[in-house]
Symmetry: C2
C-alpha cells in the first residue's frame, strides 16, 4: 500500500482532547529522546525497517528509478509542517514508498556514470555510531578524542602525498599551531579554502599594511601595486573555482582558463605564456591550479611542469585532486600524479575514490603554518592555543566525519586502496578496448585513469567517422542522438551513463561534441556489467530508431 | 583489554606470501563492498558492536571523559597508513577503547554547556539509511526523489518563517528557477551564502557593467562609485561573519560591530547612526545583520526595528537565527522573533534546535530569485533548467541530509517542536531562579531564551557584589576562579558548563568578565540535573579551596 504525502499528513499519532494535548505530545517527544538498555526500543524497531530498506536498495541491479519528474513534483508539493507528529510506522512506509524507491542506485554495478559508487559495508553502522556520538568537530569541548583522531587521519593522508620525515610528523601531527590538513564538507569547500589561504598569505600584512584579511582586497592590491588578482589553470577546472573566484571578489573573468591539448591536459606553453602576460600586466597571481583527474574525463595535468612554473614565479601551486588523489595509493599508477608532492595545497575527496560517505572533503598544506592566514577567534570558543579545529576553517560546526576517514585508512589500508584503484583503471581499459572494437561506438579520448568519454555513431555515419570526414551537420545529428540516448537510458533506468560536452574542430571551426561519460569506480562493476551497459545503449538506439521508422525495419536498423 | 594504536597496526588480517597477496586483498576488499540477503553479514556483525557502543554511550550520565589531552596526543600520533587492512574486530575494539570512550557525552542531561544535545532516536537508523542510499544532492542524476524532498522540506521551513500564500508555495516549491532555501553544511556556510547573494545582487550587472561576479569587487565599487563595502550588525555577531567578510574581500574591519545594550541587544540608535555614517562616507552596505539568539547568551536583537532601518535604506536584511530560529515554533515565545519575516535572508541550523544531526545548515530567501545571483553552470552537470541543486550553492557534492530535516518536521511536528522550545525556556527560567537564589552565584543577564550566563562568587566577595562595589582586582580574582572552575569541571567530567567572556564597567573602565555559559536545550535535562550541575560547581570550588589552603579549613571554606 502506498500512502500519499497528504494521507500520511492526516494520519497522526494523536487526536487528543485539548486538555491532554500538551502532556501527550510531551510524552511522545520524550520517548523519542530516551535511550534504554531495557526491552525492544523504538529505535530498534526503526532500525529493522531501515535495514530492510537498505538491503533491498543495495541489492537492486537497476541503476535508476523510472519515475517521472512530473510525478515527483506532484509527490513533494506540501509546504505545511504537520501540526501533530506523524506516527513512525506511517512515516517510514511513506519514506520507503516515495523516497527510497525513487532514489538512484548509486551502488548498482551498472550505474557507471558518476563519481558516486558502492561503499564498504562498515560505513553504514559507522554512520549510526557517528550520529549517536553527535560530536561537533568545531571545538575540543564537543569533540575530545575525535579532534586528535581527525588530525591523525589527516596526517596519514598528508604523508601519502608529501612523504616528509618522521620528525616532521612527530612535530606537527598533534601540534595545535600546525595544520597539515582541514576536513571540510566537500571538494568545493576544499578548493575555496586552499585559494583563500593562498590569497591571504600572498597579500598579507607587511610594514604598515594590515593585510587583506583586515584591510580588504582593494586596499591589498593598492598596497602591493597590483592591477588585479587572478587564478590560473586549465580550461577544465571544476566549477568550484568559479565559485571561489566570485566569492573571493577577484571575479570569474580573472579565473584564467588556459586551453588543453587533445588529451585534456593543460598546454604548458600556453600556461607559461599566460603567467608571463599576467606578470607583465601587473596582475597578482594568487595560485596556479593543476588538475589531477578532470571532472569530465579523469585526465591529469602535467603536474611536474606546472610545479616548475609556479616555483619560478614564486606562486602558490594548488592541485585539485578531488577525484584522482587516491591514485597515489597505486604503485603502478602513482607516477601519473608525479609532481603532486610539490603542491602547496592539495584537494582530495573522501567520498570519491576513498569510498567513504558524502561529506568528506580534504585540503592538505605543504606548509603547516599556511592556514594561519585564515585563523579566526571567538570568545565563547575558538580560543588561541586551543585544539579547536574550527579556528582555521571555512566551516564552523561540523560532524565527526573523521571517523570514516580513520576507519577507511585502517580497514582498507594501503594495499586495499591500491587494489581498488588498479581494478578501476584495469576495467576502464577493458571498456575502452570494447568501445574501440564495437562499430557502434567512437572512443573520444584515451583514458588517463578511470573515466572514459565516447559516443554512439549511427550506422550510416560510421564510414565518414572512420575517414574523419564528419560535417557539422553529421556531428549535430550524432549529438542529438547521443543526448536523446542518454536521457532515455536514464529514464528507463536499467543502466546509467552520464554525458558531458567537449569540442572538436570541423572545417577549422569549434563544434560541440556531446559525449557519453563513464566513471568506472564501483568495485562491484564487472566486465559483464560494462558489456551490459554498452548493449543496453545499443538496444535503446534500436528502440529509438523503431519509433522513428515504425514501418521500415531497414531504415530503423541503419539508424 | 586495550590495544594501542601501534598494536592494532601490527595485528593485520593478512600475512600472505607474495604470490597470493593480490587475490587475498582483493577478496577481502570485495567482501566489504558486497551486500547480500543471505546469512549473517559482516555488516550485521559490525552493526551489533556499534549498537552496544551507542547504547552505552547514550546512557552514560557523565558529561565528559577525564582523559588528559597529553594522553590523547600520545594515542593519536601515528602518521602511517597500515599497508595491510586491519581486521574488523581489532579495529572496532580500538575504536571503542580509544575514540568512543574518550568522546564527549553531548547527550548527557548534565552536559549543558554547548548547543549540542541528545537527538531523537530516529536519526540514528536514518543516518544508516542515508549512508546506504549514498545520494549526492548536487544533481538530479545522483539524487532523484531526494532533490524534490529537499525542496519540500525547505519550503516547509520557509513557510514557518514567511507564511506566504498557498499560491506562492504552489508556484515556487518545485520550480527549478526558484530557490526558497539552500541546505548547507552548517550555519557558517549559510551566513556566508546569504551575504554572498546580497553582495552579488546589490553590485550586479547594470548598463555596460557586467556585475561583481564577472568583474570583481574593485571594479564593482568603482562602477557604483563606492569607497568600500561593509556589513553591519551587533558586536555579538558570530565569528562566521568575520570569515564571510574576509573571504568576500571586503575585510574584517568593514564588518562593522555596533555596541549592544545590557541585554545584549544591538543599540538601535547606534545602528541607525552607523548606517547613516556609512552612507555619508559613501560605503556600500551589503547587509544589515540581526541576531536571533546570540552565541554566548541567546539574546535576540530587536528585529522589527532593524528591518525598518534596512527598509528605509534599501539594504539587504539578514537574520542569523542559527540558534534561535526554531523559537518560531512556539506560540508562547515566537513574539521574541517578531520581524524575522521581514528578513531578506534567514539562517537556521538543523543541528541545533531542530534536534537533527550535525551538518544541516539552512539559508532561506524572501525573494525566490535572489540566489540566481550566485548561479553557476558546468557542462558535465549543473545544466541550466535542470533540477540540479548544486547550481545555486556554495557547496558541490553533499549528502542527503534533507532526509533528516524532512523526517524531523514530520515525526516531531509543529507541536512537538513547540514542546521542546517551551521546555527549554521553562527550564532556563528555573535555572535563572536557582542561580539568583543561591548565594554562590551571580546571574549576569536575564535570559531571553534558553542560554544563560552567570558566575561563581567566592564567599568573601559576595558582600561587595551585592553592593555593586567590585574593584578591578576583585573582578580579576573572580575571573581567575571561574576560569579555573570551568576547566576543572570539564576535566573531572561529571557535568559540563562552557565559558565565555563579557565586559563590565568598573570605575568607568571596561573590564573582562569570565562567565559560565549554560545552554538548556537537551530534552533529557531535568530540574534535578540543573541542580546537580550547580552543586557540582560548588563542590569543585570547595575542592579547589582545600587545595589552596590544605591546613586551614576556615580559609578554605571562605574561598
Amino acid at each position: 500500500m502506498t500512502l500519499s504525502n497528504q494521507e500520511v499528513l492526516t494520519k497522526n499519532t494523536f487526536s487528543p482532547t485539548e486538555q491532554t494535548l500538551h502532556s501527550e505530545i510531551g510524552d511522545h517527544v520524550m520517548q523519542m529522546f530516551t535511550s534504554s538498555h531495557k526491552g525492544k526500543s523504538l529505535e530498534t524497531q526503526i532500525d529493522e525497517i531501515v535495514n530492510d530498506f537498505s538491503l533491498d536498495f543495495l541489492t537492486t541491479l537497476n541503476a535508476n528509478t523510472n519515475v517521472d519528474i512530473d510525478e515527483l513534483i506532484r509527490k513533494f508539493g506540501d509546504s505545511k509542517i504537520p501540526s501533530q507528529p506523524i506516527d513512525f510506522e506511517s512515516y517510514f512506509q511513506y519514506l520507503g514508498d516515495n523516497i527510497v524507491s525513487n532514489s538512484i542506485h548509486t551502488s548498482s554495478p551498472q550505474f557507471i556514470g558518476h563519481m558516486t559508487s558502492a561503499l564498504p559495508s562498515f560505513v553504514r553502522p559507522l554512520a549510526k555510531l557517528m550520529t549517536a556520538m553527535n560530536q561537533n568537530a568545531v571545538k575540543i569541548e564537543t569533540a575530545k578524542a575525535l579532534s586528535f583522531c581527525e588530525r591523525e587521519a589527516l596526517a596519514m593522508m598528508h604523508r601519502q602525498i608529501y612523504d616528509f620525515s618522521d620528525n616532521f610528523y612527530t612535530q606537527h601531527i598533534q601540534n595545535n599551531q600546525s595544520t597539515l590538513g582541514i576536513l571540510v564538507s566537500g571538494g568545493t569547500t576544499a578548493n575555496i579554502t586552499a585559494l583563500w589561504c593562498a590569497r591571504n598569505k600572498s597579500l598579507g600584512a607587511k610594514n604598515e599594511f594590515l593585510g587583506i584579511e583586515k584591510a580588504g582586497l582593494t586596499a591589498a592590491l593598492n598596497f602591493y601595486g597590483y592591477k588585479g588578482a587572478v587564478v590560473i589553470g586549465s580550461e577544465l577546472m571544476h566549477f568550484s573555482f568559479d565559485k571561489a573566484a566570485d566569492l573571493m571578489g577577484i571575479s570569474t573573468q580573472n579565473l584564467i582558463r588556459v586551453p588543453v591539448d587533445s588529451n585534456n591536459r593543460v598546454k604548458i606553453q600556453a600556461l607559461r605564456q599566460t603567467v608571463a602576460e599576467c606578470r607583465e600586466q601587473n596582475l597578482h597571481i594568487i595560485a596556479i591550479v593543476g588538475i589531477a583527474g578532470t571532472t569530465d574525463s579523469g585526465c591529469v595535468d602535467p603536474l611536474e611542469e606546472i610545479a616548475e612554473i609556479a616555483q619560478e614565479n614564486n606562486v602558490h601551486f594548488h592541485v585539485d585532486a578531488a577525484w584522482g588523489g587516491p591514485v597515489i595509493f597505486s604503485q603502478k599508477h602513482r607516477h601519473k600524479l608525479a609532481g603532486i608532492e610539490k603542491a602547496d595545497s592539495v584537494t582530495i575527496d573522501g567520498h570519491k575514490q576513498l569510498y567513504l560517505p558524502m561529506g568528506i572533503g580534504m585540503v592538505f598544506f605543504r606548509d603547516p603554518y599556511l592556514a594561519s592566514s585564515i585563523e579566526k577567534q571567538a570568545s565563547y570558543t575558538m580560543r588561541k592555543g586551543s585544539f579547536d579545529l574550527g579556528k582555521r576553517a571555512l566551516e564552523g560546526s561540523r560532524p565527526g566525519m573523521a571517523l570514516f576517514l580513520h576507519a577507511g585508512l585502517k580497514l582498507i589500508g594501503l594495499k586495499g586502496y591500491e587494489f581498488l584503484i588498479d581494478e578501476g583503471i584495469r576495467k576502464t581499459q577493458y571498456m575502452a578496448a570494447r568501445i574501440s572494437a564495437m562499430p557502434e561506438f567512437e572512443l573520444l579520448a584515451e583514458p588517463d585513469t578511470n573515466l572514459l568519454i565516447y559516443r554512439y555513431i549511427p550506422e550510416q555515419l560510421r564510414g565518414v567517422v572512420a575517414k574523419n570526414q564528419l560535417t557539422e551537420i553529421d556531428n549535430q545529428l550524432i549529438n542529438e542522438l547521443n543526448e536523446h540516448l542518454q536521457k532515455l537510458q536514464r529514464q528507463i533506468g536499467r543502466t546509467f551513463i552520464s554525458r558531458t560536452t567537449k569540442t572538436t574542430i570541423i572545417s577549422g571551426k569549434e563544434n560541440p561534441v556531446i559525449a557519453m561519460r563513464a566513471v568506472i569506480a564501483n568495485p562491484l562493476t564487472t566486465e559483464a556489467d560494462i558489456d551490459a551497459v554498452l548493449n543496453d545503449q545499443i538496444q535503446i538506439v534500436t528502440e529509438i530508431s523503431r519509433s522513428y521508422f515504425p514501418d521500415n525495419d531497414e531504415l530503423a536498423k541503419s539508424y
